[in-house]
């Protein structure tokens, strides 16, 4: 088991910069998930840690030792590819035993290790098969088995379950979690599925265009997004982001959404040290946009523009000035489009971002 550290890592492919000044420390035994859209550099980062890709500059440390110039074979790290890449000309048994052959283990020890891993992954009955005769889930188990069998310092997984269907994904997610808990190996897991990230991670690393956006526990990136990108990337349905202007001073301030006629009253504390007149973006999740049929204190009268019934709840769009906010309501709460409702915002769940930099004002606290 090991700690992994990236210091000022940069990676160029020709003139294209794919990793931009990445700093990241992954603690011993931690399960870190890298989350980001397609093409943001997740795979490249993972491959750089494994030694399959050289970095242009910066250092990669494993247990405090610089390894960026070491060969992949010398880093003692295991990698699970999205494609599984099981060797087709070998049986499942031989596939799992393959990494052990590199280290010259005795036959009996090797046999024991392979059987043990097969047991943990519940595939002892498949050992004699060829990979081509396996289902997707079993291929994935074998790939993980091959990675775990030699007890590497760290386990890197690149979208290991991305190719499976939804039900199997859920099952395998639980299995990976179980394995991590029982083995406690330092793990880095790449995905673009935030539910996967939320359910597996001790900490989530969110990347965008090769830049690390935020590192934090799942609830932290959900509740305290560091910037507009994270705010809109994490959570479903997507967080509302609206242009707002702030007026008033001391005590409560008035937050005007979309140049509407009236504003919402917010305690100054939620805005950090933003001054009145500041051009800000408000981020608020649909569950914090509160609708009611009755006029109440501080609420604004609006019209619903669209209703999306989702079974357990509805998503209702309301027009406030030039902006549309989406609210989460009980199903059937608003019966139709064009209905008049009163809307209020929950100040404790509101996020304010600097419109120019996109950074959360909370970061400046």
């Amino acid at each position: 088991m090991a700690q992994i550290e990236l210091r000022n890592v940069q990676k160029f492919f020709g003139a294209v910069q794919v990793i931009k000044d990445m700093n990241l420390t992954i603690e011993d035994g931690e399960f870190v998930v890298m989350l980001g859209q397609s093409g943001c550099g997740k795979t490249t980062t993972l491959r750089a840690i494994a030694g399959l890709e050289t970095v242009t500059s910066g250092e990669i440390l494993i247990d405090g030792k610089e390894v960026q110039n070491e060969k992949a074979a010398d880093r003692d790290i295991a990698f699970v590819f999205q494609s599984f890449s099981l060797y087709p000309h070998m049986t499942v048994y031989e596939n799992i035993a393959f990494p052990l052959r590199a280290v010259g283990m005795s036959n009996s020890e090797r046999d024991k290790a392979v059987k043990e891993v097969a047991e943990i992954l519940r595939i002892p009955n498949l050992l004699k098969r060829r990979p081509s005769a396996l289902s997707g889930g079993d291929m994935q188990r074998v790939a993980i088995g091959r990675a775990l069998v030699r007890r590497p310092k760290a386990l890197l997984m690149d979208e290991p379950i991305g190719a499976l269907d939804a039900k199997l994904r859920e099952e395998m997610r639980a299995e990976i979690k179980r394995l991590h808990i029982s083995r406690g190996s330092t793990s880095v897991y790449v995905t673009h599925d935030q539910i996967e990230a939320m359910s597996l991670a001790d900490r989530i690393v969110i990347m965008h265009d090769g830049v690390l956006q935020q590192i934090g526990a799942p609830e932290e990136v959900y509740l305290k997004p560091a910037n507009l990108f994270v705010a809109q990337f994490v959570g479903s349905p997507v967080m509302n982001v609206a242009d707002v202007s702030v007026s008033g001073n001391g005590g409560d301030v008035s937050v005007v959404v979309g140049k509407a006629d009236a504003g919402f009253a917010f305690p100054q504390s939620t805005l950090g040290n933003a001054k009145a007149g500041h051009e800000l973006s408000l981020g608020i999740r649909p569950e914090a946009v509160l609708l009611s049929h009755d006029k109440s204190d501080g609420a604004i009268e609006v019209k619903s523009t669209n209703i999306e019934p989702l079974g357990s709840h509805d998503i209702v769009d309301v027009q406030i000035g030039s902006e549309v906010l989406r609210a989460r309501t009980e199903s059937g709460f608003v019966s139709g489009e064009g209905q008049t409702v009163w809307v209020n915002l929950d100040p404790t769940q509101a996020h304010f971002f600097d419109r120019a930099s996109g950074l959360s004002l909370r970061g400046h606290e």
Binding site: F81, F84, L86, P88, L134
Partner: protein, 319 residues
């Protein structure tokens, strides 16, 4: 899962099978012709119409392997009785086997030419395929400056017809002493097959996902180990196909062999037709030589048939 077929489909299917049978028969006639002639007595070889039913005998092969001379007068009875069974067949045909002063049988050149063919073809095939595979691997996996130009250059060595380079090659070989040598032919055939081998193998290796090797690399293997343990087994189909083609090319090569060799290193292709011209042509001997000459390629291809037939789509990689 057998799909239900309409009578029309069944009928068309039968027509297709019949057509294939006809084509197959037409293709097999020359092979049958050679094969049957190789086992005919000499007087039946050139009859018109051709003799189909006859008592097969191996005298053409005996004659193929020995030096013989025409009998002026019938052989004496005790000599005939003392001769081994195979020599009797030659004597029956009005010829006698030439012996040295010490009574040793003088072999014809065929055995040696055949061995030469084997040596040259096997070694040059091995060299062309192994060098071609390594080169193709390099081109496939690493960034090579001017890769496309290199590959085109390699292919372009194949564009000149052999006869164009044969004379200059002959002159050069004579200067360096490579003419009429096994090494000379091996170099020539290796060079000739290499471009083909590089191109075919590049296609096959490109198809092998890099992740296979990368998985081996992270699992503690060096690149060369990964090449031998992962890439080679995966590329076996391609290697088998390339080897068969290279072997056939080297085995059948005629023009260079004719010009570059005359005795010591001569291969079978220029030798066999040269026997037509010596004295009365004995077609059964020619047929026997050709028949034996057909076998190695047939056997080689047969041994590798599983590799050749196996598709590339047996992998367990998800794309």
């Amino acid at each position: 899962m057998a799909a239900v077929r309409t009578p029309r489909e069944i009928f068309l299917n039968r027509v297709a099978i019949a057509a294939v049978m006809v084509v197959l028969l037409i293709m097999l006639v020359p092979i049958y012709w050679i094969g049957s002639t190789a086992f005919k007595p000499r007087n039946l070889a050139t009859t018109i119409p051709p003799t189909v039913f006859f008592q097969p005998e191996v005298s053409p092969f005996v004659k193929l392997m020995t030096k013989r001379s025409q009998l002026r007068k019938p052989v004496e009875q005790e000599v005939y009785d003392a001769a081994p069974w195979w020599e009797k067949m030659v004597l029956d045909g009005g010829e006698k086997v030439v012996r040295t002063g010490k009574g040793k049988i003088r072999p014809s050149g065929y055995g040696q030419r055949f061995t030469n063919s084997l040596i040259v073809s096997i070694i040059s095939t091995f060299l062309a395929v192994s060098m071609g595979t390594l080169t193709a691997y390099g081109f496939s996996r690493f960034k090579v400056k001017g890769e496309d130009d290199w590959l085109f250059f390699i292919l372009s060595t194949r564009m000149l017809p052999p006869v164009v380079v044969a004379i200059p090659m002959y002159l050069m070989y004579r200067v360096v002493g490579l003419n009429d040598s096994h090494l000379g032919l091996i170099i020539l055939y290796t060079a000739f097959n290499l471009s083909f081998s590089v191109w075919i193998m590049k296609g096959f290796i490109d198809e092998i996902p890099r992740e296979y090797e990368e998985a081996a690399l992270v699992d503690g293997y060096t690149r060369i180990q990964a090449f031998f343990k992962i890439v080679l087994p995966e590329a076996m189909t391609g290697i088998a196909a390339t080897a068969v083609f290279c072997f056939i090319t080297a085995w059948n090569e005629y023009a260079f062999a004719l010009i570059m060799t005359n005795r010591r290193a001569q291969t079978a292709p220029p030798y066999i037709p040269s026997q037509v011209g010596s004295g009365l042509p004995d077609w059964t001997v020619i047929a026997a030589g050709t028949f034996l000459f057909l076998l190695p390629v047939a056997i080689f291809t047969f041994l590798l048939r599983n590799h050749l037939l196996r598709g590339m789509s047996f992998g367990a990689i998800r794309k």
